[in-house]
């Protein structure tokens, strides 16, 4: 396996638990960071292949697969029939016999067609085979939002999968992490699901050249503060940062709220240590997620706090996810549906009041 050596050599570039947003260097778009990760992986290991509906379209899966077919050939980068369940099983079987498939989907809603293979098979085969078989499979999709995406093209279903043993679930929020987590996912010997967010794809940020990995299961502080812990991932965390900026731009200096903002990056496994450490310090925790609040990431972390450090709480745990309602398609209804920075700021202010 060339993976282990190559990645260990470049570990010095990994910035686990540091403030990656403050690092200076080459700036790349989110999409280009992902594209670079896939190209590096394809270049490094002949066992890696990339597939998905439209990976060789002119739009190249939002640009993520741009030029990959031309560079690495149609045998290793290929468009697929629509068969989501069948292709997930085919990827699982290929992974079990030594390949490293990266199966890209436009939206996580299509994962639902493949639940039999994801949940009944890929996640459990290593266990059911008593460790004799590995399933190094990456499945990637971008959560949609807006412009009529509606109930079937904008679902953030990570919460549904959180209860499945054997899976890893990643939710990057920066170009740096998008590349580093993709490389870690491909290097990992387990099925890894990556939930990207469509609204993050236009951002740019510091992205080192070459191979580096972001450790799966390590959260990171995006901001440090004392009054409240805000924990979440992906686009929800961007809204939280915007909410904090809004609070502190509008308040007079004496009333400034300072927060520990924790970017989970991986929701399975969960970096429990960082969440508990920060909550013990601040005594307040707000959990934010792009998915439904009920039974998902928000609920799990709320329970974690209740089980581990309830005595440190100065305010009840709060969570901001989606209401227990399908995503509406229309613009006006969407405005009521999604959490906004304004609504989040009001909750933070109330908690710290």
């Amino acid at each position: 396996m060339p993976w282990a050596d190559a990645l260990i050599q470049s570990q010095s570039q990994s910035q686990s638990r540091s403030l990656t947003s403050q690092v200076e260097g080459r700036v790349l778009s989110y999409v280009d960071a992902l594209n670079e990760a896939l190209a590096l992986a394809l270049d490094l290991d002949p066992n890696v292949f990339v597939l998905g509906q439209g990976v060789n379209d002119p739009s190249a899966m939002f640009g993520v697969t741009r030029q990959l077919e031309q560079r690495f050939g149609a045998k290793r980068v290929f468009d697929t029939p629509l068969s989501e369940e069948g292709l997930t099983g085919i990827c699982t079987g290929a992974a079990m016999t030594g390949l490293r498939p990266v199966y890209l989907h436009n939206r996580p809603d299509f994962f639902l067609l493949a639940f039999n293979q994801i949940v009944n098979h890929a996640a459990k085969i290593h266990y059911m085979d008593n460790g004799q078989t590995n399933v190094p499979l990456v499945m990637w999709a971008a959560i949609g939002r807006g412009w009529g995406s509606g109930a079937q093209h904008s679902q953030a279903i990570q919460g549904l999968l959180l209860t499945v043993p054997g899976l890893r679930i990643l939710m990057p929020s920066t170009p740096y992490d998008a590349k580093g987590l993709m490389l870690s996912a491909i290097a990992d010997n387990n099925p890894v699901l990556i939930f990207e967010h469509r609204w993050l794809m236009k951002q740019t940020g510091f992205v080192p050249e070459g191979l580096y990995k972001v450790a799966i299961g390590d959260a990171v502080y995006r901001q440090r503060g004392d009054d409240i812990t805000i924990v979440g991932s992906s686009h929800a965390l961007h809204i939280a940062i915007e909410a904090m900026n809004r609070i502190n731009d509008e308040t007079i200096s004496a009333d400034i709220i300072s927060a520990d903002i924790i970017d989970l990056r991986s929701i399975k496994p969960l970096d429990k240590h960082l969440i508990i450490e920060s909550t013990r310090k601040t005594g307040r925790i707000l959990i934010v997620d792009t998915g439904w609040a009920m039974g998902g990431v928000c609920a799990e972390i709320g329970c974690l706090i209740a089980e581990t450090c309830p005595e440190s709480l100065r305010h009840p745990v709060r969570r901001i996810g989606l209401p227990d309602v399908p995503t509406p398609a229309g613009f006006t209804l969407e405005q009521f549906y999604y959490p906004t920075a304004e609504k989040m700021a009001a909750v933070i202010t109330e908690m710290c009041g």
Binding site: F49, K75, R76, T80, P81, S83, E85, G86, L87, T88, G89, I90, C91, T92, G93, A94, A95, M96, T97, G98, L99, N116, Q117, N120, H121, I125, H126, Y127, M128, D129, N130, G131, Q132, T133, N134, V135, P165, G166, R168, N189, N190
Partner: protein, 341 residues
């Protein structure tokens, strides 16, 4: 009323080509079928003890299919199957001790008591996987064939499944992809006419299963699933296609499930099928019809048959003793292998 009758023609047509098969190979095919039959009977006879705390799906009456197919494969070729695992596992060379230990929920079971009878595995001989979700293994086996194709390697993937698997979408998704990429895979549909207690006629219109596969662009055929040479012959052709880059094949084997879907004994008295139907199929026993044919042609003698019976009996008794005396797993084992390092 009997609904499903034997449609084959027995071994008569094979007499003229018998000299094409080395006698040792014919005897090996017979031995494998006999061994599977005796293992299944032994499992069945002890199942009431409730010490094998696992569902069983006996393959009695259908032995020729797994043996005819696996008799042509090497240990580098990978085989996958559904929940009716016993015959395929043994025909591919799977370790009997490890199989029975798995049934007895022992730590030295073939998958450490984490899979049970519906998830037998022996990677050392290419028995690569099975799934208790009907048709769930079909795309996985297809993915293995994709690996052989991507690496330009000469091994092939073979997958066994029942007639009901052809009612699942993922099977047809797999056939479509395999035909599209010309993957080195052989799909073996073991049509035993029943899905648990539901006859084929209540589940599918009267279109031959192999014809449906043919319409997906696979070279497809149907054979007498009680006749090991018929299966063997179809597999020889399919294997040549797979190994020479000509793509996937589909073989429908028709044989009857003598026992119930799961558990011990024939359950036909419960009314979902005619007990006479079972009796009619028992006249076309895969083991005894081949035994008779080989005996007629002086390839199998009574003394050799008896020696085989003795050898199998000793092996099976020793395997049960080994399983029963093996240790169960510990609580520590529960948490092992959820994730790969």
């Amino acid at each position: 009323m009997t609904k499903y009758r034997y449609q084959g023609t027995g071994y008569a047509a094979w007499a003229s080509v018998l000299d094409q098969y080395p006698p040792a190979h014919l005897l090996a095919l017979f031995f494998q079928m006999l061994r599977i039959r005796r293992v299944e009977e032994a499992i069945e006879s002890r199942y009431h003890e409730d010490e094998m705390k696992t569902p069983i799906h006996l393959v009695i009456g259908q032995e020729a299919s797994a043996v005819g197919v696996c008799g042509l494969l090497s240990s580098r070729d990978l085989v996958y199957c559904g929940h009716r695992t016993h015959g395929v596992y043994l025909a591919k060379g799977g370790d009997l001790n490890a199989m029975l230990s798995e049934f007895y929920c022992r730590a030295n079971g073939c998958v450490g008591s984490k899979g049970g009878s519906m998830h037998l595995l022996d990677k050392s001989v290419g028995m690569a996987g099975s799934s208790a979700i009907v048709a769930g293994i079909v795309p996985i086996a297809t993915g293995a064939a994709l690996t052989a194709y991507m690496r330009n390697e000469s091994w092939v993937s073979t997958v066994f499944f029942g007639d009901a698997a052809t009612e699942e979408g993922a099977l047809w998704e797999s056939l479509n992809f395999a035909a599209l990429k010309r993957l080195p895979i052989i799909y073996v549909c073991e049509n035993n006419y029943f899905s648990v207690c539901t006859p084929l006629s209540q589940r599918q219109p009267e279109v031959d299963i192999f014809r449906k596969a043919e319409s997906f662009g696979l070279v497809s055929t149907v054979v007498d699933g009680t006749n090991v040479l018929a299966v063997h012959d179809a597999m020889t052709k399919a294997l040549n296609r797979a190994r020479s880059g000509q793509g996937p094949s589909f073989i429908e084997t028709r044989a009857y499930r003598w026992r119930g879907h799961g558990g011990a004994g024939d359950d036909s008295s419960s009314g979902y099928r005619d007990p006479d139907e079972v009796k009619l199929w028992q006249e076309h026993c895969p083991v005894e019809s081949f035994s008779k044919f080989l005996t007629q042609h002086n390839i199998l003698q009574g003394s050799r048959r008896q020696a085989m019976e003795t050898r199998i009996d000793e092996e099976v008794n020793a395997a049960f003793a080994s399983a029963i005396s093996s240790l169960p797993p510990t609580e520590v084992d529960l948490y092992k292998h959820v994730y790969s390092e």
